[in-house]
């Protein structure tokens, strides 16, 4: 929406006459194409020719959502005709379909869907943030799921996993891409008859978890990958049938991973949010972070607070100007003192005051927040 990151090159008023002529011609051509498509669809001309014209128009303007709707109307019409004609397949069609192991109508539908998925690829590469292209892609896959046997549909969805990995390779933060990835994984697991997420024969939770490790290793500052990693944990642990010891080992390994990353770059917000997430899994008042440990009570919470306050405190050495360290220390210490009011000595009020003073000095932008924190912690 609107224009993003587009530097202004040459304003309209200084266009040459030649450039203006050219623009008028382009406008006339565009309008003629639009009029042709709209006229045909209004007259219910759902022919291949109309379909090709929608391709032309959408290639020029993929944001024109009504034309995507027209494209789906045409496809729906073709699917219905194929299914209706299924009783009288042509010999040639039947032979090809037989080879593919699908009934003829389904075979035709599969080919159409594959072709349209192919049509979208250059568009997605050119306009990776256009909602309507991703939306149309989901619709095609949904249509495949509806009309094809599970095996045929699952193959298509698996292909999508490759595509979305490629897209995320180009822009590792594209949230359409990450959202689509979740959709694809859910569909594969559902169609593979898994039932429980991550437990079916198509169980993807392990490879997906490994994918987040790979993404993080190639770029630590990728909160999208860290977030996805956090979301996979409950299913991962349950698919591994992790017991108390395994869960604790898992949490410890995650803390080790993030601590190493934080030493590499303590100024990276993404990493701190993940650290915060791991701490939140121990905090029963954060309902959005399910526990990793089992059991997970006040004793465990206190133990990790103790450990992480110590670990974060050590990060200050050489990074005394890093606001996130003070924020973490204040947050975790506040919780520590709530759980163990007698825990003074571990963290002293003098120290808390000192951290807050430093924080206010380094981060004046959020001074209102630090003032509120001061009041809340009674410092």
């Amino acid at each position: 929406m609107g224009s993003h990151g587009i530097p202004r090159v040459g304003a309209t008023f200084d266009k040459s006459e030649q450039a203006r002529d050219k623009e008028w011609k382009q406008i006339a051509q565009y309008q003629a194409l639009e009029k042709d498509v709209v006229g045909r669809v209004n007259a219910k001309d759902y022919s291949d020719a109309t379909f090709q014209l929608t391709s032309q128009l959408l290639t020029q303007n993929p944001e024109y959502y009504t034309i995507w709707n027209y494209r789906r109307l045409i496809l729906q019409d073709v699917f219905a005709r194929e299914l209706a004609a299924a009783d009288h397949p042509s010999e040639q069609g039947a032979a090809a379909a037989d080879k593919a192991g699908l009934p003829p109508a389904q075979h035709e539908i599969l080919l159409l869907i594959k072709e349209d998925l192919q049509f979208l690829i250059p568009l997605l590469k050119q306009y990776p943030k256009c909602y309507w292209i991703w939306n149309h892609r989901s619709w095609l896959l949904g249509a495949a799921t509806k009309h094809l046997l599970a095996r045929g549909a699952v193959e298509l969805w698996q292909g999508e996993l490759g595509l979305v990995s490629k897209m995320l390779g180009l822009d590792s933060r594209n949230f359409h891409g990450w959202g689509y990835r979740r959709e694809v994984v859910q569909a594969i697991e559902r169609l593979s008859g898994g039932g429980d997420e991550g437990k079916g024969s198509g169980g993807l939770v392990e490879p997906e978890f490994a994918y987040t490790t790979k993404m993080i290793q190639s770029n630590l500052s990728n909160f999208s990958a860290w977030h996805y990693r956090s979301q996979l944990m409950p299913a991962l642990l349950s698919s591994r049938n992790a017991d108390t010891a395994a869960r604790q080992a898992f949490l410890d390994a995650e803390f080790e991973l993030i601590t190493k990353a934080l030493y590499t770059d303590p100024y990276d917000q993404s990493l701190w949010f993940y650290h915060q997430y791991l701490m939140a899994t121990l905090n029963p008042s954060n309902a959005q972070a399910p526990p990793i440990l089992d059991p997970c009570g006040a004793a465990e919470h206190l133990q990790y607070l103790d450990q992480e306050i110590e670990s974060v405190r050590e990060m200050l050495d050489g990074a005394e100007d890093c606001k996130y360290i003070y924020q973490a220390l204040l947050e975790y210490s506040g919780r520590y003192l709530e759980l163990a009011p007698e825990g003074e000595g571990k963290v002293t009020v003098t120290e808390l005051k000192e951290w807050l003073r430093e924080l206010r000095k380094i981060d004046p932008l959020r001074d209102g927040r630090w003032r509120d924190l001061e009041g809340k912690m009674k410092l």
Binding site: M1, G2, S3, H4, G5, I6, P7, R8, A11, T12, F13, R20, E23, W24, Q26, I27, Y30, Q31, V38, N61, E63, Y64, Y65, T66, N69, R72, Y131, N135, S138, W139, R173, F175, W178, G179, R182, S221, F223, S224, H227, Y228, S230, Q231, D268, Q269, S270, F273, Q276, Y277, A280, S285, N286, Q288, P364, L365, R366, D367, G368, R369, D372, K376
Partner: protein, 349 residues
């Protein structure tokens, strides 16, 4: 009204220090008025699918700038009503398919130009038809689809809520009638999009994003559930995440480690305002950032200094300035992105 970007670009006028920056109100008004005269640009035609959005953004900006009549009311009314379909939905332009987002913008425009009487004259029972169009898009699990093709998104849910409330069709506004939508199912869906960091994503499991935070917080606010659901702890957590969106330039970004952009002044700022944490931002620095993104000669505001201006960033820049109390700008309602004196008439839960 066009969404075509340009012609100007955001920059600081020569010899001007950032602290001397002023909002060029007259230039912005003239810029918005000029938008519909750009039919000789291809971009104007390629952005037809955003026409209704453009009118809503331009008109809101004009209201906040104190010039609500700078666009001719009759022309606006005629245009909006020409986007109405028989099923009660509005398209983005005449002939474009109905969609919940454009229905929302149309109802916002009709509210601002006092156009409901004209709607009823054109289509008897019109308001109810529009409300029914929206109600029919709710899915069994509480979500809302954008149109008959079924894509769902928390933006659509928010759009459904605020549009129905402007029409007076939210269940709490009609306690004696059977509810036309299932509010508890919808808010339960929003809660499923809530993340550990306090923010909200586009679907359950999705990473927090400022735009989605705005739609989810806005929906909870319209439904009257914001305070009871988040509580002080939830507001602190969300407020912390939102306040970390402000970077050294004073501008705000949409997610960790992303670029600043004027439109986030609105999504982040309004969300903070709804949870009473707006003072967690540096208002003076945000003001200076927005002002650096305006074109002081030709009007309009861009996403970042030196980029092309457009009406989308113009309204969200101005609305952002309204939130932080920039002198001379009308007060904006943080949930509806409309003048507060107009939304004051809405019956809240």
């Amino acid at each position: 009204m066009s969404l075509a970007a340009g012609p100007g670009r955001g920059h600081v006028a020569e010899g001007q220090l950032p602290e001397e920056l002023k909002l060029v109100v007259d230039k912005h008004v003239a810029y918005i008025q000029s938008l519909d005269t750009r039919r000789d640009e291809l971009e104007y035609h390629l952005t037809e699918h955003l026409r209704i959005g453009g009118i809503y953004w331009g008109l809101t900006a004009l209201h906040l700038l104190g010039q609500p009549d700078a666009l001719p009311r009759d022309g606006l009314l005629e245009y909006v009503l020409s986007c109405l379909h028989d099923d009660g939905g509005f398209g983005a332009a005449p002939g474009h398919d109905a969609h919940i987002l454009y229905t929302g913008y149309s109802v916002q425009i009709l509210t601002m130009i006092d156009g409901f009487k004209a709607l009823e004259e054109k289509t008897p029972g019109g308001k109810q038809k529009v409300a029914t169009f929206i109600a029919n898009l709710q899915q069994y699990d509480g979500r809302f689809a954008g149109d008959q093709w079924g894509e769902t998104d928390t933006r659509f849910l928010f759009s459904a809520f605020y549009t129905l409330s402007l029409l007076g069709y939210m269940p709490h506004q009609r306690p004696s009638e059977p509810p036309i939508i299932d509010v508890p199912a919808a808010t339960a869906y929003i809660k499923a999009c809530h993340n550990f960091d306090g923010g909200f994503g586009v679907a359950p499991g999705a990473e927090s994003h400022s735009g989605q935070v705005f739609t989810c917080v806005g929906a909870l606010s319209v439904a009257g559930e914001l305070d009871s659901y988040l509580g002080e702890e939830g507001k602190d957590r969300l407020g912390a995440w939102l306040s970390e969106r402000q970077l050294g330039s004073g501008g705000l970004n949409g997610r960790p480690e992303k670029l600043v952009d004027v439109c986030y002044s609105w999504w982040v700022g309004s969300s903070l305002a709804m949870i009473d944490r707006l003072h967690w931002l540096d208002k003076a620095k945000l003001t200076a950032f927005i002002l650096q993104c305006q074109d002081p000669e030709q009007g309009g505001i861009a996403d970042r200094p030196e980029d092309m201006v457009d009406v989308f960033h113009t309204v969200f820049g101005i609305a952002g300035l309204s939130l932080v109390g920039y002198p001379g700008i009308g007060e904006v309602d943080p949930a509806y992105c409309m003048p507060k004196h107009i939304t004051a008439r809405i019956q809240r839960p």
